[in-house]
Amino acid sequence: MTQAQRRVISGWGRTSPITAEVARPDLDNAVSAIVQNADKIVARGLGRSYGDAAQVGGGLTLDMTGLDRILSFDASTGVVEVEAGVSLDHLIRTLTPQGWFVPVTPGTRYVTVGGAIASDVHGKNHHAVGSFGQHVVELTLVAADGSLITASADHNSDVFWATVGGMGLTGVILRAKVQMRSVETARMLATTQRAANLDDLMADMASIDTDVPYSVAWVDTSARGKRFGRGLISHGDHAKRSDLPTGANPFALGLPESVEVPADLPAITLNRYTVAAFNELWFRKAPRNATPILTSLADFFHPLDMVNKWNRIYGRPGFVQYQFVVPDSGAELIGKSIRAIAATGGTSFLTVLKRFGVGNQSPLSFPIQGWTLALDIPARIDGLEQVLDKLDERVAEAGGRVYLSKDARLRPELVATMYPRLSQWQETRRTLDPQGIFRSDLAVRLDI
């Protein structure tokens, strides 16, 4: 039995710290025993959920990062079996030199496979390949009674799809088999393209997505007037051998050493002037004429991973990330939400726009076809609560939803509207965990 320790933990946004009992097993057979003895428990990976999804006060938070072994790899099929605490960073470092990349990666590679499944994470290629759960061949779940359940899209499929995107509330994901994707090189052939305003940006993204597998846009939320919503579209594909200079090592990862934000910066650091200055520089850094260039995987997918603990730039009060998706019919909410946040005097430092392809069978998976926007906002902005509450309602009316893995403040009443298959998911969860031992602070707060 692994000894639990009392530790202060919080989500990446650091808005809801708690002192929690945390156990970190390093053998997978310890997990069943821990679960059997728990009356309130939730698994935690690398703590990249922004709000309170991977913590539970008054219960046991199960730190899964001790279970970080790659169990097997089939080089003929590209299927890797891993313990749930293996990070995407670990997978990339191990398998990309052999010609295999992760099927889907979010903006950070410091997430665990278990977390990637529980959040059903998406990446720049969502419009082409869907979200992470769609590349999971099989998963092994520790159920509430401590027994192991294997599930896949064909076998125990209701358990499988309730666990994909299930926020860790169906059980503890212990192991998973993931279908990696074959790549010829560890480089990207990437283009950064300017768009002068939001209309251009959205029109360009829609047309790019029909033939490019990876795309995302950064939006300059400081720009006003004719330049409102200007931004940069970053798009591309894995480079082929033939794209590389002769003699180059095709699988040189070139993963950079990261630098760390040494301490909390004063909350004033990010204000509308510093952010506007940064945005201006960032926009101008991109060439006027967009041409494809070779870049590293890290530069293309994980630019923020260059700065370790970057969440400290918001200081002790922390920040919220507001990410929502709306169907194409609600596309006007993209511009409206940027304006609404700007009107509070708060500036989103990092604003990311992306088109999603169709969603999957998971009742709680976030992506649906349409537009998704993610805004990072300092928590101490006056009136932020009311602005976000109003946006929630408009998003829900438009048939959209907010991303639970980012959420720190949604009104519980809206969850069922945003996720119409919530009751179906709750039904499956009740069968798996009749006592409701798998709970997180998020589950308590949203009453799901």
């Binding site: 710290p17 006060g57 008054g58 919220v320 932020l384 308590v444 707060r445």
Partner: protein, 259 residues
């Protein structure tokens, strides 16, 4: 569960008939997230009136009165056990207390004792019992109603002032001890507040209302501020008074007291 922007869902008000306490509950309810409020009251009648008002304003709010007598320590644990047994309590507002202006400080020893028991002993004991429970749940916010009187006592309120100084001192140290743990302790120092407790008393400068104090408290809960003044402007005023030479302070307060 408290959310990332400081809105709370389940609240316990110690002193369920306190006007400042009830105003704070109403202010908290504006977030649209408050679900359940426990009113710890001495008698069901005082609970009833407060309940009716809250219930009419916020029909979806569950209101549970719990019997609590600050002068009877045997009521503390059962009341707290009941409130915490039904789920996490995100915020406890400790707002009970006596002004004691009916107590002759040198003639009425029983009255002095009652003031000490209610304002100081009961506040520290219940506060300790609340924070123990916050530690089990890993988080929580305790709001402690102090007073500007905690800063400097006067010839005409020194028993009351000493109880508030004691509570204030206890809660301030506790807030520091718990800093960064997910448990917040907030000391609130209101100036003169127009309530039924102060009706008929001479009105001090910068007098405020329960609703205005409530706004300050809710802002402090959101921003995790360990010490707030209501209104904010009494802070420099008290700072000045605290540093006045004693004869001057006596002259000023006597004059104000007689006016």
């Amino acid at each position: 569960m408290r959310d990332g922007l400081g809105a709370v869902q389940r609240v316990l008000l110690l002193g369920g008939a306190s006007e400042i306490g009830l105003a704070t509950v109403k202010e908290l309810a504006k977030s649209g997230r408050l679900r359940h409020v426990y009113l710890a009251v001495r008698s069901v009648e005082s609970g009833d009136a407060a309940q009716r008002e809250l219930a009419s304003l916020y029909p979806s709010l569950t209101i549970t009165p719990l019997l609590f007598d600050a002068a009877d320590q045997s009521t503390f644990e059962p009341m707290l056990n009941r409130a915490f047994s039904e789920g996490e309590i995100d915020c406890v507002i400790s707002a009970f207390g006596l002004l004691g202006n009916d107590v002759a400080p040198l003639a009425d020893v029983a009255g002095v004792n009652r003031l000490l028991q209610v304002n100081y002993v009961a506040a520290v004991i219940t506060g300790t019992q609340v924070v123990q429970r916050f530690q089990s749940q890993g988080s929580g916010t305790l709001v402690v109603l102090s007073s500007v009187a905690a800063e400097r006592s006067r010839f005409d309120n020194y028993v009351y002032a000493s109880t508030k100084a004691g509570v204030d001192s206890w809660a301030s140290g506790l807030a520091d001890a718990l800093k960064g743990s997910g448990i917040d302790v907030i000391v609130v120092r209101p100036g003169f507040v127009h309530t039924k407790m102060t009706t008929g008393l001479p009105v001090a400068p910068l007098a405020t209302t329960p609703d205005q104090v409530a706004v300050v408290i809710v802002e402090a809960i959101k921003t995790r501020k360990p010490l707030v003044w209501a209104p904010k402007t009494v802070r420099p005023l008290m700072s000045t008074l605290r540093h006045l030479p004693r004869p001057v302070f006596q002259a000023v307060t006597k004059k104000a007291g007689n006016g």
